[in-house]
Structures are given as C-alpha cells and as structure tokens.
C-alpha cells in the first residue's frame, strides 16, 4: 500500500534541479582562467573557440565540474541512506569505515606505485589508485561487518555495534595512514591532498570509472526508499509491516558503501557533505526518502560543484583542497538551517 503523497510534492524538487543547473553553469564559467559565456557556448557547440580555450574547457574544466557533481550526489545519497538505516542523525558515509579504508588503500597504492605517480590516472592506464582506494573501502567495511556480526551475540543493538566497530577500525586505519606518512616524507603532499579531498588533476577517466557505480548504487537506493521509510520507524514496525528488515538493511548498507567507495576513490575524503546535504534536504523537503534521496543528490551535487569552484578560484592560480571548502562553507549554513528550522528535523 502506497501512502498517498501529495502529487505536487514532486514539483518541490524543481528548484533543486534549477539550482544544480545554475551551479554547473557557474562552475564552468568561473575558474583560474576566465571563460566568457560566449566562449563556453562556442566551445560546447563545437564552434571555433581557440585551441587552448577548448582544451581547458573540455579536458580540464568540464570533467572536474561533472565529477564534482557526481561525487556530491553520491555522497549525499549515501548519507541519506546511512542516516535512515542507522536511525542516527550523525551517521554519514564515513561512519562505518569506508573513508578511512579508502584512504589506506590509496596510501598503500601511492607507496607501491611511487614511480608512476606522474600520471597515475591518465587515460588508458589501469587506474590502480582508484581500484586500491575502492578495495580498501570495501575491505574495511567488510571487516566492520564481520566484527559486528561476531560480537552480535545478544542482538541487542546491532546498529550500535556496527557504528562502534566502524569507528574503532577507522581510528586504526587512520593511524596506519599517519604512520605511513610520517615515514615517507616525499609522499606527504600526495597523501595529504588525498585526505583533504581534491579534484585537482581529475579527468574524464575518473568519471568513466566512478560515474556508473554511483548511478547504479544511487538508483538502487532510490528504489529502496520505501523500505528506508519503514526502517526509519524502527525494526519492529518495519517487521510488523512485513519487511524482511535484516536482508533489506544489508542491501541498503552494501549499496551505500559501494556508492561511498566510488566517490572517495576518485575524490579523496570530502567530509561533511554526506552529513549536511541530507539534513538540509530533510529540512526543505521532509523526511520521506522517495523525495529525500533525489533531493539530497541534487543538493549535494550543487554544493560540491560550488565548493570546487570556490576551491579553484578564491586564491587562483593557487588551489585549495575542496574538503576544506565544504567544511568551511557548509558548517555555518547548516547551523543556520538548524537554528531557524531545527524543530522539523528527523
């Protein structure tokens, strides 16, 4: 039985779509190199706009903006799913160890592949760094699940066990990464940049790898928005309504982890977005996942495109890691929303 949802609710998502389109335009327009709107138009439509402009637009600017949008959407969807499944407003894509696992995988890859750092992700090469980050994320999340299921004797609070195991393993892998950095001076910049999250030097290659994963896992989570609604009322309610909560929850967690791993493996650790975007959307659109997930995706994409644009332009030609920008710009806005409309959250 589908609860009746006002038809016009769908329309409330249109401003989100408009916001994203505007952000994309802003992201393409502004950069270290100023491209005029007519140049962008000429470049996009294939008219002659000068070889350098075309190179910058197609090979550097566009892939970055599109990748930021993909990662922003992915992190926001995963955040919404984790918050729903854990029934914990503090849950974010990193809570069960996905980010620290990815960081460890990437760090190890950087260490082993030091010689090929030059073009670690150039087109046509095996993207070892991305694969390693992805593998690391899946490995650590897998370990978290195994540990949680081993300790889950009284099955009193399995979700709490998951979060605690995730935090413990996160600290452990974080310490390992720090140790590797401490012992390898020459890798500091790369690893550091990676831990702060950055889209510097990312090209179409990364989109081709992470994009489909984010699309499929994000789409799956959207399809699971009804079960997510039920789960957020609590297990008993969900089960009494005939939902096989254990299996569904595992499916949701797997999809959200996959989505997170894909995002982290191409961008590094971008904090706060996965926590912030779903809450903001919940304040603006309400808690129902059918609307919350696409809304979060659009808002997350918008925010990350803007954050990356700021990272590229504020002190151009110097770049700032985008993770710094998301935290700096997101936190005050988030707090403002909390204070002004906080009573309606969750």
């Amino acid at each position: 039985m589908r609860p009746t949802q006002p038809r016009f609710a769908v329309w409330r998502i249109l401003p989100f779509l408009g916001g994203l389109l505007l952000a994309l335009l802003v992201g393409i327009h502004f950069g270290a190199v100023e491209l005029s709107l007519s140049e962008i138009w000429q470049g996009l439509t294939g008219a002659e706009a000068g070889a350098q402009i075309e190179t910058i637009l197609w090979q550097i600017r566009l892939p970055r903006v599109v990748l930021a949008a993909c990662v922003g959407a992915g992190l926001a969807i995963a955040g919404a799913a984790f918050q729903g499944v854990f029934r914990n407003p503090l849950a974010d894509p990193f809570v069960i160890g996905a980010s620290s696992g990815a960081a460890l995988g990437a760090t190890l890859a950087l260490l082993c592949l030091a010689g090929s750092v030059t073009v670690i992700t150039s087109t046509g090469q095996v993207p070892w760094l991305i694969l390693a980050a992805f593998g690391g994320a899946m490995l650590i999340v897998g370990a978290v699940f195994v540990i949680a299921s081993l300790s889950n004797l009284g099955r009193s609070a399995p979700l709490l066990t998951l979060i605690l195991a995730g935090m413990a393993l996160s600290s452990f892998t974080g310490a390992l990464v720090s140790l590797i950095m401490f012992l390898n001076h020459e890798m500091l910049n790369t690893i550091f940049n990676w831990l702060l999250g950055s889209f510097s030097g990312r090209h179409w290659n990364e989109i081709a790898i992470a994009g489909p994963v984010i699309l499929v896992s994000g789409g799956l989570l959207w399809m699971l928005s009804r079960p997510l609604d039920l789960l957020s009322f609590g297990d008993e309610t969900a089960m009494s309504l005939g939902l096989p909560s254990g299996k569904v929850r595992l499916l949701i967690l797997a999809a959200a982890t996959l989505c997170t791993a894909a995002c982290v493996s191409v961008s590094g650790v971008i904090g706060f977005l996965g926590l912030m975007a779903p809450h903001m959307t919940r304040i603006l659109l309400g808690p129902r996942h059918g609307l919350l997930i696409p809304g979060s995706a659009l808002l997350g994409a918008t925010l990350l495109v803007i954050a990356d644009t700021l990272a590229r332009t504020v002190i151009a030609p110097t770049e700032i890691p985008v993770g710094v920008v998301t935290a700096l710009m997101g936190c005050p806005f988030f707090l403002f929303l909390l204070i002004s409309r906080g009573r309606q959250t969750m």
């Binding site: 950069g31 270290a32 190199v33 070889a51 350098q52 190179t55 910058i56 090979q59 550097i60 600017r61 990193f94 030091a114 010689g115 090929s116 750092v117 030059t118 073009v119 670690i120 150039s122 087109t123 046509g124 996160s170 974080g174 990464v177 720090s178 950095m181 401490f182 001076h185 020459e186 890798m187 500091l188 910049n189 790369t190 550091f192 940049n193 831990l195 702060l196 950055s198 510097s200 030097g201 090209h203 179409w204 650790v269 904090g271 590229r312 002190i315 151009a316 030609p317 110097t318 770049e319 700032i320 890691p321 935290a327």
Partner: protein
C-alpha cells in the same frame, strides 16, 4: 573534524619538509636532457667545483665568540666547539665546506652530502616531531646548528638544557651567505666563511655571465613541477623560485604567495611554459624521456610548448632544492636547461 589532529601534524610536517628543502637523494647532480632539447647532455659538462675543496687553514681565532642567529639574538660560545650536531642537510654541507666536518659528531638521517656524513651518528629523522632530545643529549654536543622557525620549539628545549644552539634560516641565497658567515664564526672558521661567500657570489655571477649573450628581451617561461598530484610548483618566494630568476628564467607562477603552492592546471596550460623542470626524486622516474612521455599523455599537456619541443628536464633534487654550498650546481643545471645554447661546446 575527525582528522583534525592528524591534519595539524601533517601541515606541520609539510611546512617542514618544504622549508627544509630536504631530499633523500644520493649526492651528485645530473640534469637529464631530452634528445630534442639538448646539444650537450648536462652530465658531460664540467660540474661546478666542489665546495669541499676549500683549503682549510687552522685559524688562530680567539674564543669566546658571539654570533648572531637568524632572529638577531646573540649566541656566545666560550670555546671552539668540538662536538657539533647539524639538524639541516644544508647546514651540514656548509659545515663540511667550511672545514668544520672534523668537529661534527652528528647530523640527521637526511644529511647525505658529503659522503663523510655516513660516518657520523645519525639522528632519527629531520622533523621536529621525531628528533629525540635524548639522542641529541647523549652525543654531548657543545653546539647544535638548527634551522630557523621550524626548529624553534626544539631550540627552546635545548636552551633549557644549557646546550648552545645556533639557529640559522636556510631559504634563500642570502640565507646561505648568512649561514656561511655565522657557522664560520661559531666554529672558528670565519675566514673560510668569508672565502666561501666570495666564491659563491663569484660562481653565481659566472653562470649569469655565461648565459648573458644568449638572453633576449623575452625570458623563457619556466614551470617547476614540485609534485604531480596535487599539482604543486615553486613560487617566487621559494629558494627554487629565486634560482629560476637567477638562471634567467621567468616563473610561470610568479604571482603566487606561498612558497610551494598547489596550482591550477588550467592556468598552467594557458600560460604555456617553454621549459618544464622537475626534481629527480628517489621515488619518481629517473629518465627525462620517460617523464616527457607521461606528460604527453596527460589531457591538455601535449599542446604545451615545453612538451611539444621536448624541453622537460630533471635535476637532482638535492642540488636544486637544498639551499647550501652546492647551490651553484643547481643554478648551473637550471641555466643549462633554460639556455642550452650557452653551454654547448664544440
């Protein structure tokens, strides 16, 4: 933020690594040149005369002496130090160049030139977080030569232990001269110090004289690539930035504030450097041709003048990034990369 502590640590280490200009390279400098760009391979050219060849004359210098450190504070030494420890690779080289190597008992594990450093007791790593105060005290030093700001805390600790500390910066050619003067006075080699300074000036002038006939109104645009991901360069306020100017080049990122900033790829492509110089690191590829091939594969890079014309050069990172007596070798390699015609021999 979860990683706040780690980030602080990392930031600190990063600052240190770059300000110390430390590499972990074997001694000797060879600039590899690519086939297209070179008439005479750099390695066949006569190397700048070794700084250690300065004749050591026993000086009848009277102690106690008072030496000014980088903050202008007086450091008084009651008698000629016999047990010196150096905590910066560049200061270690200066000590040996002055003929004070005999008086040394310790250096850091990053100090690798001259080869005699191998025989000295090595102090852990050269970052303040991992230098063991106990290990320093155990060597019973009567003078510890440190870097400026990044050893400030350590210097304060040593002072409370009544161990004489001479803190000298090492970030520019002017700093090198000050260090030569100060270390010379403090160790009883002030005449050698003055000689060394005179020779340094003479050799720098010599390199500039050699390229002068080939300099045109338009100086070659240089991009010095410190690191690939993130893309990092040497700003005009860095030691390397200074060397680029001295070698008759124009830094394509002459407008950045930080010493070693992360810069935007778009700006680099638009500014289209004539020459790309990279440090030859332990971890990176050692062949300039290999690097060039990789750069060619990067989206947007193949249209750059430097890449098209194959003017991509590797310079041993010890001589290009270590502000010590061997600076002239780094300068010469750089000048060679910018003005190959000035260094071609019949």
């Amino acid at each position: 933020m979860k990683h706040q502590f780690e980030l602080k640590l990392i930031l600190f280490l990063l600052t240190l690594t770059w300000s110390a200009g430390c590499g972990t390279q074997e001694a000797g400098s060879v600039a590899s040149q690519t086939e297209q760009g070179a008439q005479a391979p750099a390695s066949e050219l006569p190397a700048a005369s070794e700084a250690t060849e300065v004749d050591v004359v026993a000086e009848a210098q009277s102690f106690p002496v008072t030496v000014k450190d980088y903050q202008g504070r007086d450091v008084t030494l009651a008698k000629q130090p016999r047990r010196i420890i150096s905590l910066l690779p560049s200061h270690t080289e200066t000590l040996f160049a002055l003929g004070a190597g005999e008086q040394m008992v310790g250096c850091t594990s990053l100090c690798n030139y001259p080869p005699e450093t191998e025989e000295l007791k090595q102090i852990a790593l050269a970052n303040p977080g991992s230098i063991s105060l106990e290990a320093l005290v155990e060597l019973q030093p009567d003078l510890i030569v440190t870097g400026g700001d990044y050893h400030r805390q350590l210097a304060a600790q040593l002072e409370t232990l009544k161990i004489p500390v001479l803190a000298l910066e090492s970030q520019s050619v002017a700093d090198i001269e000050k260090a030569m003067l100060g270390i010379g006075q403090a160790t009883g080699h002030s005449r050698q110090g003055q000689k060394l300074i005179a020779r340094l000036k003479e050799e720098i002038a010599g390199v500039q004289k050699q390229i002068k006939p080939f300099q045109k109104e338009e100086r070659p645009k240089v991009f010095y690539r410190v690191w690939d991901q993130p893309l990092m360069t040497a700003g005009p306020h860095s030691f390397i930035g200074e060397l680029i100017t001295l070698a008759g080049g124009e830094n394509v990122f002459a407008d950045v504030e930080p010493a070693y900033p992360q810069v935007s790829e778009e700006t680099l492509i638009l500014r289209n450097p004539d020459v790309i110089v990279l440090p030859r690191m332990k971890a990176g590829p050692s062949d300039a041709r290999e690097v060039l091939e990789k750069l060619r594969q990067r989206p947007g890079w193949s249209d750059m003048t430097a890449v098209k014309e194959g003017r991509v050069y590797l310079i041993e990172d010890d001589v290009i990034s270590r502000p010590g007596p061997r600076v002239v070798q780094g300068l010469q390699k750089l000048a060679q990369a910018l003005y190959p015609e000035a260094f071609s021999y019949p």
